[in-house]
């Protein structure tokens, strides 16, 4: 085996800590022992690869998964997936899930007193193209209450899950909407110390992808961990 390049460690402040008291559920679910710092080996520099065979046509359109159209404001969410070096993450899998327009998930543990929508399941998938671009059609998710603290409400958001090229590049994040008044009170959003990194979780309204007479466009670009500039260590045969 020739030299393998490793992935960069996160810039300070740009990633959340495991223990974050404002998000109450982290209390019993964070490691109390320090993580063991380890070099990246072939096991971490590889990862599962998915392709078009894994998807069905229309998986990217959450408004057409049932007989009728879902209630709510139709939107287009698109963007590019890059790595920290600005290189496109081509043909990588993106999975999304979200609440319906009323702020309700079709899930047995969601007890929020808001209507389910029989025409909306809230899950979608897509592969990026050769330039790292992706596009989903969905409806704008509603805000919803949760029991983290008194009168706690989650800002509207869409969950994103990405693989990238390696075990090291796995990312699960959430996309928010511009101008949401709940963001400043949201522990999830505020768990990221670096203000710029936090704000990058907010999508931008996008005229370019807005379709006349049809749907508003929001742009959300995603950055995966990038390789170090120079090979880090030789690898065994």
């Amino acid at each position: 085996m020739s030299k393998l390049r490793g992935y960069r460690r996160p810039h300070p402040g740009t990633q959340p800590d495991y223990d974050y008291p404002p998000y109450a559920s982290t209390a019993k679910r964070h490691p109390t022992q320090p993580l063991v710092i380890a070099p990246q080996t072939l096991s971490e520099l590889t990862g599962p690869i998915f392709g078009h065979d894994d998807l069905k046509p229309g998986d990217h359109d959450l408004t057409r998964q049932h007989k009728g159209e879902p209630i709510g404001e139709r939107i287009i969410v698109s963007g590019r997936v890059l790595d920290e070096n600005g290189k496109a993450a081509a043909h990588t899998l993106i999975e999304i899930w979200q609440a319906n327009a009323a702020g309700r998930y079709p899930h047995r543990t969601d007890q929020h007193d808001a209507p389910l929508d029989p025409n909306f399941s809230g899950a979608g998938r897509a592969l990026t193209d050769a330039e790292g671009r992706y596009r989903f059609v969905t409806i704008r998710p509603g805000e919803y209450p949760w029991r983290n603290h008194h009168n706690a409400w989650r800002p509207a958001h869409i969950h994103f899950s990405l693989f990238g090229p390696a075990f090291m590049t796995r990312l699960v994040t959430q996309m928010y909407f511009p101008g949401d008044p709940l963001l400043e009170y949201d522990p999830m959003y505020n768990c990221i110390a670096d203000e710029k990194a936090r704000k990058r979780l907010i999508s931008t309204f996008d005229w370019e992808t807005t379709v006349p007479e049809h749907a508003l466009g929001y742009r959300f670009d995603i950055v995966l961990r990038g390789e170090e500039a120079t090979p880090m260590e030789k690898n065994g045969k």
Binding site: I37, L42, H107, V172, Q174
Partner: protein, 189 residues
């Protein structure tokens, strides 16, 4: 050009809405070469209570020690029927179980060889980014020379080694203990 990676956020309690379509608890289909093994365990929080809204993802090499990935340039055969990926949700009581084949050894750094292992990502509500850990195999002489295990304080290494289940051939137990006694070792790669 230099950007910063997007921040991680929790999968939240409704993760399975978006992720269940890819659930795979049989990592190796019938016909895939290798020693069959079933691994089961529980994901336990700081009170020892099972985490019912979580999942693990597994990534592994085939029986020859070859990853189905272009970065693996070893001259070893690929098994076309084997991707090496598993995604296993926890049950309401925090239990998980999957079947696979034992992977071969893969290269470490600087010419070392790693003992057979699976790499694991752990996801759940109450966690703002996933945790990375590994599963090694019992009675495996190569564990003693594994370069990653060697970085782990010896008293904690056992948390990464699956245990045989008495009376059940090729069944192993491996638990994810988030806090306290027997806390699982998690890595920062």
């Amino acid at each position: 050009m230099s950007l910063y990676a997007t921040a991680n956020q929790t999968v939240g309690p409704f993760l399975h809405i978006g992720l269940a379509w890819l659930n795979t608890d049989r990592i190796a289909a019938p016909g895939v070469q290798g020693e069959r093994v079933t691994i089961q365990g529980r994901l336990l929080d700081g009170d020892g209570v099972g985490v019912g809204d979580g999942m693990i993802e597994v990534w592994q090499a085939n029986a020859q020690g070859k990853y189905a990935h272009p970065e693996d340039k070893q001259k070893k055969p690929l098994d076309p029927a084997f991707r090496g990926f598993g995604r296993i949700p926890t049950s309401a009581k925090g239990a998980f179980r999957f079947s696979t084949i034992k992977p071969g050894g893969v290269p470490g750094l600087d010419g070392t060889l790693q003992a057979p292992h699976l790499v694991v990502s752990v996801f759940m509500r109450g966690q703002l980014k996933h945790l990375a850990t590994r599963i090694y195999f019992p009675d495996e002489a190569a564990n003693a020379k594994d370069p990653i295990l060697a970085l782990v304080p010896s008293a904690r290494r056992g948390t990464l080694v699956a245990k045989k289940i008495a009376g059940r051939e090729s069944a192993l137990e491996w638990n994810v203990v988030l806090q306290g006694r027997g806390e699982t070792v998690f890595f920062d790669f």
